[in-house]
């Protein structure tokens, strides 16, 4: 009986509502709202379209930087390191030495220019022979072995002269070769020797003449000077003597009484020392710039409020992973992703919606779940032993996964929606400013613990409700330095 009545009731409504005779009249305002939705989605889809492209570009840049910084630091004997052994040359060729020197200078950058006459040739021989005889310290030996490499630079300027005693010619060129690893700005400057056999700074190209202290130290802008010897055997012997003495000592510069030695001497000085030193210094310099990549996990608890109204804060929690690159001594770039649980309470005045509430709620309880993707830069302000403190700033993007809003009404009998849920709709790109201070205690070379007080200041309204959501809290984390132990040899 009841069923029949129920069916009768259902039929009454079905007939009346299923196919209304007078359909609801079209309202232009409804279409306007529809158009707004469509236009808004266009903009959003444009952003969504660019996101993967931007992300891919960022990833490529990161990979490229990673490759640049992480590629192995192998000191390969480059062309500048090439020092050749003696090229046997016939005396008949001596007359061409100058030309050869020129051409070699052009190709190798070596200071090989030399006057092309037999006396010069002799000078070269003299210059070489003493070092061959006297400069056989352990350093010079190692230098010789270095210079004998297959692909090392041939110092033809002097070595084109075959010494009579068939001993390897170690001359200015060799010395230069040694200095080369540390020299990035080789300049060939002619140096003449005076009547006393002392080399003077560039008589020929006066302005550019420098003594080779820098070259001796293997610094970046060292300039090598060519010894342009005068035709005087005695003078050249003096040069040879000068060359010899440094070769036996560790002192980079050997002076000859009045004048500073030309670079040939300086370089001859270094054969045994410079290669190792230069390589070491290059290595240590690279180590200083070598970026440290670190992964981390963090968990934090924070207070969340709207418009700095922290009297209405709610406590939320976050956890996630971080990735950082220390690209300079004190500078670090970090990013990552954290899953944030951000509950908050706010007055309804701060809640923005197009929906017209029948009765205006007094407040809104919100519970937002989101992905926070920050990109921050940090500067180390304190570092002592295993402890360090950095300050950082950057921007965060919020990807709203779920937003639950509960509306509170002042009147218990008020009518209106109680809840509203938005799922995975809102994204706020780079809309939150991050400020943080991070204390790190390094447990060992690879692992460290961090304590990070932070605050997140909204730069624009976020979420469906378009509120200025602010968070302040403390994060705890563990960092793992991925490449901490991979030091260059």
């Amino acid at each position: 009986m009841d069923n029949e009545k129920d069916e009768e009731l259902d039929k009454l409504f079905r007939r009346g509502l299923e196919d209304p005779v007078n359909e609801t009249a079209f309202r232009e305002t409804d279409w306007d709202a529809m158009e707004q939705m469509l236009d808004k989605s266009k903009k959003r889809s444009a952003i969504v379209y660019w996101l993967p492209i931007i992300g891919s570009a960022a990833a490529l840049v990161l990979i490229f930087l990673g490759y640049l910084f992480l590629k192995p630091d192998v000191v390969k004997p480059g062309k500048k390191d090439q020092i050749a052994v003696t090229h046997p040359a016939k005396p008949a060729d001596n007359g061409k030495t100058g030309d050869q020197t020129k051409s070699n200078t052009g190709t190798s950058g070596e200071p090989a220019r030399q006057a092309a006459d037999s006396s010069k040739q002799q000078t070269a021989q003299n210059a070489v022979t003493p070092s061959a005889h006297h400069g056989r310290g352990p350093n010079s030996r190692s230098f010789l072995s270095l210079s004998s490499g297959k692909d090392r630079r041939h110092a033809t300027g002097n070595t084109s002269i075959k010494p009579d005693n068939e001993q390897p010619v170690i001359a200015n060129n060799i010395a230069h070769n040694k200095a080369a690893p540390g020299i990035s700005n080789d300049k060939t400057l002619p140096v003449t020797t005076d009547d006393n056999g002392n080399q003077k700074g560039n008589v020929i190209a006066n302005n550019n003449t420098k003594t080779n202290d820098k070259a001796q130290l293997g610094t970046a802008d060292s300039k090598t000077q060519l010894g342009t010897a005068d035709a005087n055997a005695n003078k050249t012997e003096n040069i040879a003597a000068n060359t010899k003495a440094p070769a036996a000592s560790d002192k980079p510069v050997t002076t000859n009484g009045k004048t500073t030695l030309g670079i040939a001497e300086v370089n001859a000085n270094k054969p045994g020392i410079a290669p190792n030193n230069v390589i070491k210094s290059a290595g240590s310099k690279k180590t200083g710039n070598r970026p440290v990549f670190a992964l981390g996990v963090i968990a934090s608890s924070d207070f969340n409020g709207v418009n700095s109204a922290f009297q209405q804060t709610r406590i939320g929690g976050n956890f996630g992973a971080t990735f950082s690159v220390t690209f300079a001594k004190k500078w670090t770039i970090s990013t990552g992703a954290t899953y944030d649980i951000k509950p908050y309470l706010t007055n309804f005045d701060n809640y923005h919606t197009a929906y017209k509430f029948p009765t205006q709620p007094s407040s809104v309880n919100a519970d937002c779940r989101m992905l926070d993707i920050p990109i921050n830069i940090n500067y180390q302000v304190y570092h002592q032993r295993a402890n360090s403190v950095t300050v950082g700033t950057g921007l965060s993007s919020y990807f709203m996964l779920r937003e639950d809003y509960q509306f509170n009404y002042a009147d218990s009998y008020a009518t209106g929606p109680a809840h509203y849920t938005v799922i995975n709709k809102n994204r706020n790109i780079l809309s939150v400013l991050n400020l943080d201070v991070t204390y790190t205690h390094q447990i060992n070379s690879k692992f460290g613990v961090t304590v990070q007080p932070y605050t997140k200041v909204p730069l624009s309204n976020v979420g469906y409700s378009q509120v200025k959501l602010q968070s302040t809290g403390v994060a705890l984390g563990i960092n793992w330095n991925i490449n901490a132990s991979s030091k260059p040899k």
Binding site: L9, L12, A418, H419
Partner: protein, 211 residues
């Protein structure tokens, strides 16, 4: 609207032509609004829900199978967005209504002719949870099991809500009849025009329903 014209409009919508979108919107405005109004509290809400439905239509029009009736596809979308819009409220129990509903008499329905607006007004006055179940069962023809799946409630809750909805509608019809007889339509009616919400009720509902 002929089939060919409809397909042309759909083609224009696929190409994101705003003109075609507007024409389709206007063509099916009444039909869509008719569905959304049944599930909504009022016309403004219905228009908002309907626009959400059309938004889905325009953004997913490529998925429409042209071999099937467009109206059925559109109607299903409108129904789904309507359910989604009020989903948060659908699990709520309305304790204050239960007693009144249980005390309804089993009087015969008055032999009164009610027009579309009258019936729509009555349905819209039902609480969301009752209205949704009533719409799905009585008008759209779903079973309680299907409704349970759609709304993520048990079929028992669906039956219960349907029963309460019917009771309230009967009460409204009787009242309407009384009004027409006595020109005193709303006398004695004490139901909420929409969902009554209070903090205490909410908490109670949450704890009872474990949500």
């Amino acid at each position: 609207m002929g089939e060919e014209e409809l397909h042309q409009l759909i083609g224009g919508c696929i190409r994101k032509e705003r003109g075609s979108q507007k024409m389709l919107y206007k063509a099916f405005y009444g039909f869509s609004m008719g569905i959304c109004l049944r599930y909504a509290n009022n016309r403004d809400e219905a228009a908002e829900v309907m626009n959400q439905g059309f938004f889905k239509v325009f953004t997913r029009i490529e998925t429409y199978d042209t071999s099937r009736p467009f109206k059925a596809w559109l109607g299903r979308i409108m129904m789904n967005v309507s359910i989604d819009y009020y989903r948060a409220n659908l699990k709520m129990a309305y304790a204050e209504d239960l007693d009144k509903a249980e005390n309804m008499s089993n009087d015969e329905l008055p032999d009164q002719k009610l027009n579309y607006e009258d019936l729509l007004a009555m349905v819209q006055k039902l609480p969301n949870a009752y209205r949704t179940v009533f719409n799905l069962y009585a008008i759209d023809g779903y079973t309680h099991e299907e409704i349970g799946e759609l709304l993520n409630i048990s079929s028992g809750t669906s039956k219960s809500n349907l029963h309460k909805a019917r009771q309230k509608l009967k009460q409204m019809i009787l009242e309407a009849d009384g009004k027409s007889n006595n020109s005193n339509y709303n006398k004695g009616m004490d139901y909420s025009p929409s969902v009554a919400i209070s903090k205490t009720d909410l908490h109670g509902a949450f704890f009872r329903k474990n949500i």
